[in-house]
Symmetry: none
Subunit: 117 residues, 2 copies
DNA sequence: TCCCTCGTTCACAGCCTGTTCACGACCGGT
DNA sequence: ACCGGTCGTGAACAGGCTGTGAACGAGGGA
């Protein structure tokens, strides 16, 4: 990940939280407020395993309740949209019992994706 | 988007604010003052997600009131005229909760539009 | 004055979002 | 392989935004 002012750049993704905009391989993603905020929260911690509680507190601004699945639901929404925009790559990895890790990785070793991370 | 003096060029559109004229695929559009100004405001920010307030302040020259729908109404008028002039292309994209983004994009994957953006 | 255009404002329908459920698949430990 | 706890995912809901057609009044030209 790299920072340039308020711009987060991870793999083929460029995220500008201030402008509510995320661009994947030159194509602007259609994200809701929560989706973009969660994406930014993940991207700004790229490569780290981030606990749900940390993600929730960052995006929702409140402590995570014991049975709240909001983070999981939004992770799924992001995976779908990122998958559509950048086929052949996985950005969000699950770490069972802990949380998620954001990092570009090929979905399949033999996938013929053209552009690198 | 490209600038040449006072000319904005986005996709098949060419907008000359100084001459109060907008040309789509060689055909001059019939736009009112507000319509042209809003189109110019959008085109000059092509590819960016622009908040309603910014558009309103640029075109109307005053801060956007909380329940003012003028921008939405004019966006609709522009969409109709652009849709007529350039079928098969979408230029104005809604970003729910924020504003609009101006960028040429095919309406349908299978549309046989001849001219590119 | 009459007609027509334009900008503004309404009203209502329809779409999008955030949240919460429900249920099945998956994981790790025993 | 069995089990309890975690995750993935599709769907239902209520509320807030946006799309859209129409009404209104001001202003300009014939």
């Amino acid at each position: 990940m790299s920072r340039n002012g308020s711009v987060l750049s991870v793999g083929a993704l460029e995220i500008r939280p201030d402008e509510h905009q995320a661009v994947a391989a030159g194509h602007t993603l259609t994200l809701s407020v929560r989706e973009l905020e969660l994406l930014a929260a993940l991207a700004s911690r790229s490569g780290r395993i981030v606990p749900r509680a940390e993600l929730y507190e960052t995006v929702w601004g409140a402590p995570l309740r014991a049975d709240d699945r909001s983070v999981d639901v939004y992770i799924h929404k992001l995976r779908v949209k990122l998958g559509d925009a950048l086929p052949g790559w996985r950005y969000i990895h699950t770490h069972f019992g802990f949380g998620y890790r954001f990092e570009p990785e090929r979905s399949h070793p033999f996938h013929n994706a053209a552009t690198g991370p």
